[in-house]
Symmetry: none
Subunit: 249 residues, 2 copies
């Protein structure tokens, strides 16, 4: 089964406790959401504690299990990352309310939307946040900020339902590249940069990769743009004049 | 201890599961609420499952245990009843959002506010709803309407915090690169693509350049991102391993 196009999918990245997965599935059904993606949950699946907490929610029965983040986000064209803090990345930061209004507008414009939630231990890692178009923060009290995963899902789901009727203001890019395409482009680009010796010093590589990905994601490239850029990388990586030489043979 | 006058108290009427009481105490602290009243919980008190789920929330430590509804609501001047359905009573019915805005206004006017939540088995009984000034309903899907008690508390608590001014509309990209910087980046990139022999056939070059520039402009890159990307282009254009070789000399 694939995600519905009429509502966002919720993607739990490395969730740990079956109880929270079940609670998420229950509250998603409470608020009219159907598609739950589980990226490499810690415990065995199916998880009896998730079943118990879901109290019969069809969302749990239909949950899609995937092995890694790339598989989890691959089918979407627009991603939202829920985090407790903005992370200092150059991305739009929205409240849950604004974020869900934006989700609704994006879906109306034909986007396939996924909302990412991190695991219990520390939320989303920066590599996942870097893939998102928008950051959604929840207004937690700084002195007691650790929000339960099921509660975070509940609030986002509630805002999805509560936002019904919010105006749709969204300037769509047509044919936005899927995350599979984008991931392929990133890996290609980064592999050539690595070969060229661009990443230096080595311990800065993850941060440089993250910053590059953030910059590219913000542009919301089309599949054609992704193809074109990969052509650029290929030509550059061959060295000056090589592409022409090859073609002229 | 008595309820704070600056924020509403939450009153759980005949709650059953310690887990839900603990979850309520945790999420109240997440959203800046301090005063929890427990009207005759089913199980013994203190409840170890509540302690476990509260993960150290001070709200649980300070929870006030009372024997009956009258004692629970006695200290308040204005009460809100959360229910899944309006009950046909002649009272104002508000959404959680409207309800929490109303709570805030009431507190500003000097009222002592309590928000009532029913137990797991069937929510608030009519006698409790009858005591309320206002009914707050949550927009649950009728086909799967049973909302977990902890989630109901979480959404009300979230709305309390979210109502506190709604700032942070859109965090704009800081330090967007000037068009001079961007033009410099384009010319650099395109010159290396030209050298590499990327542009082919020649009469398509202007269109390809235009499409590439369009894609980059949409991302609204910062000066730092422009610098980083120029570094990438430089490294790639030197050919595989050259940047590393240069650096190691």
């Amino acid at each position: 089964m694939t995600q519905s196009n009429a509502a966002p999918s919720f993607i739990l990245v490395h969730p740990q406790l079956g109880e929270n997965i079940g609670a998420a599935a229950r509250v998603m059904a409470n608020f009219g959401l159907a598609d739950l993606v589980l990226v490499a949950p810690r415990d065995e699946w199916p998880n009896p504690k998730a079943v118990s907490m879901a109290v019969g929610s069809p969302v749990l029965d239909n949950a899609r299990l995937v092995d890694d983040l790339t598989a989890g986000v691959g089918g979407f064209t627009r991603l939202y990352a829920t985090t407790a803090r903005p992370r200092g990345m150059e991305k739009p930061v929205m409240t849950a309310r604004e974020g869900m209004a934006d989700v609704r507008a994006a879906i109306a414009a034909g986007e396939k939307v996924g909302v990412l939630f991190g695991g219990e231990k520390g939320g989303l890692l920066n590599d996942a946040v870097a893939l998102a178009d928008v950051i959604i923060t929840l207004p937690v009290d700084r002195s007691f900020s650790s929000l339960n995963l099921g509660q975070a899902v509940g609030i986002a789901a509630y805002e999805w339902m509560a936002e019904e009727g919010a105006p749709a203001v969204f300037d769509p890019v047509s044919d936005v590249a899927s995350r599979f395409d984008l991931e392929g482009m990133f890996e290609h680009f980064e592999a050539e940069l690595e070969r060229a010796g661009f990443f230096y010093p080595p311990d800065k590589t993850p941060l440089m990769v993250q910053n590059l990905r953030t910059a590219f994601v913000r542009g919301r490239w089309t599949t054609q743009e992704v193809r074109t850029f990969r052509g650029c990388v290929k030509a550059l990586a061959m060295g000056r004049g090589k592409a022409r030489t090859l073609r002229d043979k």
